[in-house]
Symmetry: D2
């Protein structure tokens, strides 16, 4: 059987481990593999692809990133003005289908987040045999217990928090570390719990500037002059992200983002409590997505890869491989993409953090 | 309420994180904590203990080991000739109970493996209020999804395998890395899967020397002259651990362990296939238990610690805190200790490993 | 003998290792140690200090930061309008001297950069017995081969570059990583060389925007669509840090720093070559100063600490301990502080980097 | 110019970084490179080699080991019974020379320790243009300040010591960690100093069993019941490595090595002080040579690689590239190989360690 492999959207550390295990688990049964490059661009004309055999995937499973490269959507982006915000141009879909047939691909394994998998679904509607593999560093899919990349990102953020603690303490500073998480705050929550953050700010739990200032003052009064705060990039205040400009500058609040939410936050705290705290921030950025995956993520990636290969061979199309309670489950892609797993105030991690004194900003 | 904390048996990296979160989650409700030192020895005369307040546990949660120290059983070891192999001397139990009462301990949180918890059960039978926290680096308890320490041990073993790969390849060597796991092979299985081992040998899946030699020969013939093998310390061959001594030395097989099973294995392979392979072994040993816990283990430890404190306050005695599907569950200690979770040949990890070509020795 | 210990200015990872080894190397000869807190503030009224004995320094030498805390200058800052930009108020100096006498300090070991040591010199002029220990994470002192903290900072920056490579390659991006180094570019140079940067921008070698764009284009044409660039925070362009504002906004170049030089650079490249490159940047910030020191830095710190204690006991005052060719040398503080070691275009690191194709921006 | 590259002897982490930088620094001047595989075997019939161009060395410089593979001596081993213990068979040397000429190699860069370089010298005597690059993980060459691989090995050993500390303390154990170093104890000395070892045992400073037992007893009496000891594999006692066998077994001392010197040592201490200490040992083994090189070693390796390429082009034959005081120096191979740099009792590291209370075993 000839199986295509494609990944789309942002990269995560264990992508190569997924690709490698798909190939390794299939070649000894005689299956052939084609890797499409640069996400959906690879299946559009002029096609970008190469044969993936045992040798092509040797020694890559602990190397971060993806040997196939990746792009965000590209021509698979929704057609502007199409009404449906995800609807891809029909011609583009037909072209992709025709190209896949031309090179003899019988099933296509698509590794991606909701954007990439939404494209995959539309291709499936055209009759292409699709197997989905979830890829979200935010671990925010309800249909699966854990997604690969998340654990490594948490490790990296935790290490940054560990390093931040010693310098915050030495200088009596309040240091904000901004981590990934636009809609789901799992990376901030887990790294904050692991890295001993004093405050955790999440998209799901809007914060209150006044209460933050009160909290920092309370700490100072009880002898904790330094604090380490982890902020998800999508954290929001109840009031929105205003920056209180000086009267001379403006007569009203303005919503301005100053190079990352953490920067806005320290700007506003300084306005509210001038000179009270020595505030600093760091935006971790791209380092969270790169480098060697940790052991848990490598294992997860290999489990997903093998399961996807088996689903492709078994004809389980239109489905996404998931892991629940240590077992592989196949769920319809449509359903899987629809349901996000967000942080809730009563989840075990939040409960644990609150009990040991972590403040969530409101 | 006055709550005692005690840990027994071998140390694991996140013990201090457990202790710290028990204390931190209880002090703000007015509870007091006493930490007993050196395991059960701490509650026997002369008692060894100290008050644990907020300050005593500050900054310890990412430090490996335990501030309380630990011993294996000590006087809580079974009375020799008592018939029941776990039965502790009644006088010792009475002394412990009396001592706990003397210092006013209303509930005792016991962090330990089956040995330590078996002692806790006997103390519970005497009327002591016990809350159990499972501690096994081998992750081999059925009643809970994951135990702390395991993930860090897997990380350490995986890193050792990563390092071994480059030197094995450069020298065309077959290198055996021996990791912890006397009865359960989860550390070997997970690190082997993560670290790209070519062969994994586990206590639960006895190996066959002849098949191992065949496998190594097959690899050599197909161009893979180096191999990396991970061996659990409790791995066994189907034939037992004989060392074939030279005729001059002996006329029969002898069961001898030569400083670790990995050493015995390479000795025997060399006997069976003299000069065919350049064989080496490394026994990781104590480094697997020590140092900074990884982020997952710190989170787990804090979840267990908070849950144990809550169980103590809620009067859930004779129970062990467990985590299932991201939720805290309380299970009777007696039941929890009884059921081991061993590697099975059809579990997801073994299945995945086999599919990508890993050999399990038979 | 009663010896005071004081550190000032920004923290570096191995400070505790210095403090610890000063104390450990002196106590067995009967010397006593007083640690002053918060830099120079600790010796001013009301004094902040504590006795440092064997127990006080146990287990701290691999913990980042400083148990004494630190501030930048504080009241030891130069008196405004004093003419000499470093001249401290005479009253402040007298107060410090009197306080040191009051607690019986016979010699004061001062660990700090040029700011802190300049204060120490003025105190020495008042008759205080001073031994200096150089502290600069930038490794920019001519009088000593290597300063502690530098090697760990290079490790952290290199790891960030390693992680950046995989994501840059996967996405065909040009990613700038901004590291410490206001005047000296050693961290950028060394991490860039170790971490395989394609371009390194340093304060000592002003860059040319046009040539940078040419270099990135040349790489793209020869098939390297991704690039990783390391930038010292003090890197400057030959033209200054203008941001070309749109005609509607302004009619002229403006020197604006947009949250870090790396941000300014990608802004300007985007203006010069709109849409040609997918540009991103990360500012590493405080994580470079914190956390566990690496092995080299711990060794260096212990060598400096022991040497400083010996100098204090031997009466080698007004001198700074230095290491040259693996030997301790004592140099007059005045002289030591004066001479910076900057990157030169013909040093071995720059030469090596250029030979293997690294571009320095002009 | 056509330049050959060959590495021999045990692998070290930064070998690929050396190879990569030789090639990268030469290709843009039009030079061509041939990599010989499996050490000297690669230049003997049948030759094993391949062309190394820019693409062949891409992305390898942070990967441990060597893409060329390596063997110890092989047919370049000294001819048995030749009188001179290093004298290689003349026919073998002639064959190597002829083969090098056949493929047009004008200069051969040989990366190796004293064994490999001694072979290179004999080939140089036959008229082959040789440039040597020192490779010794033990950092024991007088002619150069630092050799690559050493710093990474020290990091690995230090991390093992860090992990050992927490478990030793928790259990009141005396744990011996055995590290590389047959003749020179630099790895043990540096990792011991960095990792806070309580005792360091080196080949250059023979230890005294009685004094070791006294030291451990003294520690116990002063409240330090746990100790961490680092032992170089070549450490020796003043009495030799006897194992005192029981009277029934033997009437005299026997020199037996029980799987590593650390094992012998704990065996003997147990005999001398039965039951007094809970003794354990770990032999780090091969993990010290493998995996990703640290930043310092990558920089060193690139400096050596570029310098070797330049020496080859400049016709500096019969010389070894060295680094002294941050500058490249060329020294005659014969001279370079002859002079070892061993630990001396008055070197800065030993002095520092002793001052802070580290015991050297006598």
């Amino acid at each position: 059987m000839k199986i295509g492999i494609l990944n789309g959207g942002g990269d995560v550390q264990p992508l190569n481990a997924v690709i490698s295990s798909i190939v390794k688990s299939g070649v000894h049964d005689g299956h052939e593999f084609i890797g499409f490059e640069k996400g959906w661009e690879g299946v559009l004309s002029p096609m970008l692809y190469r044969t993936l055999d045992q040798k092509a995937v040797r020694g890559i499973s602990h190397v971060g990133g993806t040997i196939l490269g990746t792009v965000n959507k590209g021509r698979f982006a929704a057609k502007v003005g199409a009404g449906d915000k995800n609807k891809i141009d029909d011609e583009i879909l037909n072209q992709a289908k025709a190209n896949l047939e031309k090179v003899g691909v019988e099933a296509l394994i698509v590794i991606g987040g909701d954007g990439t998998l939404s494209g995959a679904l539309q291709l499936a509607d055209k009759g292409v045999n699709i197997v989905g593999v979830p890829k979200t560093i935010d671990n925010d899919l309800k249909s699966t217990d854990k997604t690969f990349g998340f654990s490594t990102a948490v490790d990296i953020a935790t290490e940054a928090l560990d390093r931040t603690h010693t310098t915050a303490t030495s200088h009596d500073r309040v240091i904000f570390v901004e981590v990934m998480g636009r809609h789901a705050g799992w990376i901030a929550l887990n790294s904050g719990l692991a890295g001993g953050a004093d405050m955790i700010l999440l998209p799901e739990m809007p914060f209150d500037y006044k209460k933050i200032v009160e909290f920092l003052r309370m700490r100072k009064e009880t002898g904790y002059r330094s604090s380490v705060v982890v902020v998800a990039e999508g954290a929001t205040s109840k009031e929105g992200f205003f920056v209180t400009l000086e009267p001379a500058e403006s007569t009203q609040k303005q919503e301005i983002k100053l190079g990352g939410i953490s920067n806005t936050i320290i700007h506003n705290i300084e306005k509210m409590a001038p000179g009270e705290f020595e505030l600093r921030n760091t935006v971790l950025g791209h380092v969270q997505r790169g480098g060697t995956p940790n052991s848990e993520d490598r294992i997860l990636a290999k489990q997903y890869g093998v399961a996807a290969m088996e689903a492709a061979v078994n004809g389980d199309y239109g489905k996404m491989v998931s892991i629940r309670d240590g077992k592989i489950v196949l769920v319809p892609i449509a359903e899987a993409v629809a349901q996000l797993k967000l942080v809730t105030p009563d989840c075990l991690e939040v409960h644990t953090a609150k009990r040991i004194g972590v403040f969530f900003g409101s």
